[in-house]
Amino acid sequence: MRYVICTFLGMTLFAFCWVAVGYGIFQLLGIGTCASGGPYVSARQCPDGTGGLMLALTGGILGLFLAGGIYLARGTPPGAQSPPQNAGIVIWFWTGLFWALAAGSFLAVWGPEANPGPGAKLGGLIVGFMGLIMGAGGLLALNFRRRKQPPAQSFNPAVARIAGTASRFSAAPDPVGRLDTLDRMRKQGTLTEAEFETLKSKIIGGG
């Protein structure tokens, strides 16, 4: 139950914040440079709702961290033996944040309904490319992490048999008895000639 609740809350908040960040930067770039307050009436007065957009943008960024925290606390999935790997998911949250910024910025500058406000085009491109690079950096880190993990060992029955036999023999204290057993196994066909020789030299060498 904890898994379902935390996953649901974390992902819902993540998607909500993703939209808030992307849409917030898109709208703010559409407004462009503006002023509010002061003793005079500004020609470029900030429209109503600008404060809400600022809040959506900054709150969305903070909310993504909160969403990540809730999501990471979800525990083991139902039916699974071990908890999920979280490092890759954290990187996806990171990439999602920066690519939301990039998507909103590029849409505001180059999108089908793009109408960047005064001075917003350059700022939008800077934020867009910065977000794109930062998000891609997360994916590169994910790829690097995967490469650093050792590859899964392929199963070789012969090696496993020798290793198993060797461990059994190293547990036995008497070298003569161990050689005797080994010979019996060779005669039974459990060990090949080469495997027998390998293990025999190990016992004689004191291994």
Partner: protein, 188 residues
């Protein structure tokens, strides 16, 4: 995303998909509620008196020719300038301040404008011809020229101010005053 269990389990997948869909829906709903009307992108930066700008006289207490009023107006104008933009010309009337902006060399910023100079110019003109004070000045322009920003003062010819000259000029600092100049040519 990392595989969470060795066998396929539909519950985590469903929880993720439903949660993402709900989050996007709620996000769009919330953002639509706060979407503002975009201001006109072609509007130049400027400020005006909160009362009818045309009714403010040059010698009124709230006239922008006065340093204590012009200084905050310039600050408010600065907030409206886009990054990298400068001022090509500044048009100052008692009740309003408008800027024509651009980018390039030779332009100036609101912070470069000494707020006390309009009153200083009015004082110098008054010393030249006693009938002219702040109330007799129609407007002042500060124009970015090839030789730096220059003031251009136009007297209000609708008032009883006597014969020409009706225009005066000065560099950014306000001195020396030149009499009857042509309007300065902006850079670019």
């Amino acid at each position: 995303m990392a595989t969470e269990s060795s066998g396929f389990n539909l519950v985590p997948v469903l929880v993720h998909v439903v949660a993402i869909a709900l989050g996007i829906y709620l996000g769009l709903l919330a953002m639509a509620a706060i979407t503002p009307d975009f201001p006109d992108a072609d509007t130049d930066p400027g400020v005006s008196s909160s009362s009818a700008p045309g009714t403010v006289a040059g010698d009124d207490p709230d006239s922008l020719f006065r340093a204590q009023n012009l200084a905050p107006a310039l600050t408010q104008l600065d907030d409206q300038l886009a990054a990298g933009d400068g001022i090509v010309s500044l048009h100052l009337e008692p009740g309003s301040l408008d800027a024509e902006t651009g980018s390039g060399d030779g332009l100036f910023e609101p912070a470069d404008v000494p707020a006390e100079v309009p009153a200083l110019l009015a004082g110098q003109i008054h010393a030249e011809r006693g009938s002219v004070g702040l109330a007799e000045i129609a407007y002042m322009d500060l124009v970015a020229t090839a030789k730096g920003p220059r003031w251009y003062v136009q007297l209000d010819i609708a008032r009883d101010i006597g014969p020409p000259p009706w225009t005066y000029g000065a560099p950014l600092a306000g001195t020396p005053l030149t009499v009857g100049p042509a309007p300065p040519t902006p850079v670019g």
